[in-house]
Symmetry: C2
Subunit: 241 residues, 2 copies
């Protein structure tokens, strides 16, 4: 370099050199709950160095989009999933993380109900929901990315009511509890769970019960979104368990 000042992007440089450019990609860890287990949406990798391996859903950033926009576009182009709320996690920039050259990636995650979306690859790439617990290896550094995304998912699950987007509008307390147990990977005491939820005052008893179950039917509840929005949650440390 000539001088540091000459190259500093915030000082007097009048153009950006064409050296020191990078590819930027987005990789999405889409977590899915199917009522039983926590899964992750993977695509089969057709890339020579990782042929047959599975990878997160990802692609390159384009010129006229922000990274957030790219994340939504890339998810849509690969799976036809639309209106998915994606949360940015962090960047991964290992020098050799991609065989074809320098690619810096931004990781995103989401959590959805697998039955709310029909996942279709418009490009005939194989897509598959796989149980998180059974994933042992992924292409690139995606195993690392996935584990960081799962950590962030668990944090968010404790702080915001994302669980209620994964259940039918009317749900039982046992359904809700099971969801928390699966995503967080912990066991929860039933009585304490119910007390805490009821004390939050955000569940509405819809005065209905389960049908067609061969045991005592459970009462059903709705989550009170408008009440939740109306109370100040900015400084809450723990919304849930």
């Amino acid at each position: 370099m000539t001088t540091a000042a000459a190259q500093n992007i915030n000082t007097w440089m009048t153009h950006l050199s064409s050296e020191s450019q990078f590819h930027i990609s987005v990789d999405c860890a889409i977590f899915g709950y199917n009522g039983e287990t926590l899964q992750v949406l993977l695509m089969e990798c057709d890339f020579p160095a990782y042929k047959g391996k599975w990878s997160l859903v990802g692609d390159l950033l384009k010129q006229n989009e922000t990274i957030n926009n790219a994340a939504n576009r890339i998810l849509y182009e690969n799976t036809q999933m639309d209106n998915v709320y994606l949360e940015q996690v962090e960047s991964f920039s290992g020098i050799d993380r991609h065989p074809l050259g320098r690619v810096v990636t931004l990781a995103y995650y989401s959590l959805i109900n697998t039955s709310d979306y029909e996942v279709v690859s418009p490009t005939h790439i194989r897509l598959e929901w796989q149980d998180l617990e059974e994933i042992t290896e992924l292409a690139f550094d995606h195993k690392l990315i996935l584990s960081r995304c799962h950590i962030m998912l668990k944090k968010q699950m404790r702080l915001s009511p994302i669980a209620f987007d994964l259940l039918p509008e009317k749900f039982s307390l046992n359904q809700l509890q099971k969801l928390y147990e699966v995503v967080l990977g912990v066991e929860i005491d039933k009585r304490n769970f119910r007390r805490k939820l009821k004390n939050q005052g955000l569940l509405i008893d819809v005065d209905e019960i389960q049908c067609d179950v061969s045991h005592r039917p459970a009462k059903l509840y709705r989550f009170d979104y408008s009440k939740y929005k109306s109370i100040n949650n900015g400084n809450k440390l723990s919304f849930m368990i």
Copy 2:
């Protein structure tokens, strides 16, 4: 594009096109505590569109470094500060955020004691510690970046004992309390603060008192780093207030 598959970075593409490359930068919000106020280290912007404005310390990523490495290098090259622990916050990728073209930035923050470092610009760019409260405008989107960094700093302050790196090895409880109040921007009850800290069991009474003060001298404590490391902090939600 031909087909989405043909362009997908995780599939059969055998080279990365030279289109769709980006500049990547790092911007560091270095927070400094001087015993009185919370400050931020800024550099004067010599860049035409923002001439005379102040900006965060930042520069471009180079080919053979990770973003974390770049953050440390950039901080060192601009300020001679070494061994500063930087924490990544998030990316900023607004399409028009930089006048010279597409520059995606990764924001970092740190918190240091201003008297522990002599800040020197090797390139004669003006560097200045400015009180956070008095900063009204910054170049680029750095005001936004700064506010996001401050939010992250406050979160970390509540979860990990970074405060103790900012004080002398032996400190009084009032010094510690003032630090928390300044960084978090809140008032704290003295008795509750002391009780909580003492119950943590991580302060060691060094059996010394302040010297040369014209009032009752305070007892001094050390933070017990080794005890802190030995206890499991992974699942703690709140280390401090």
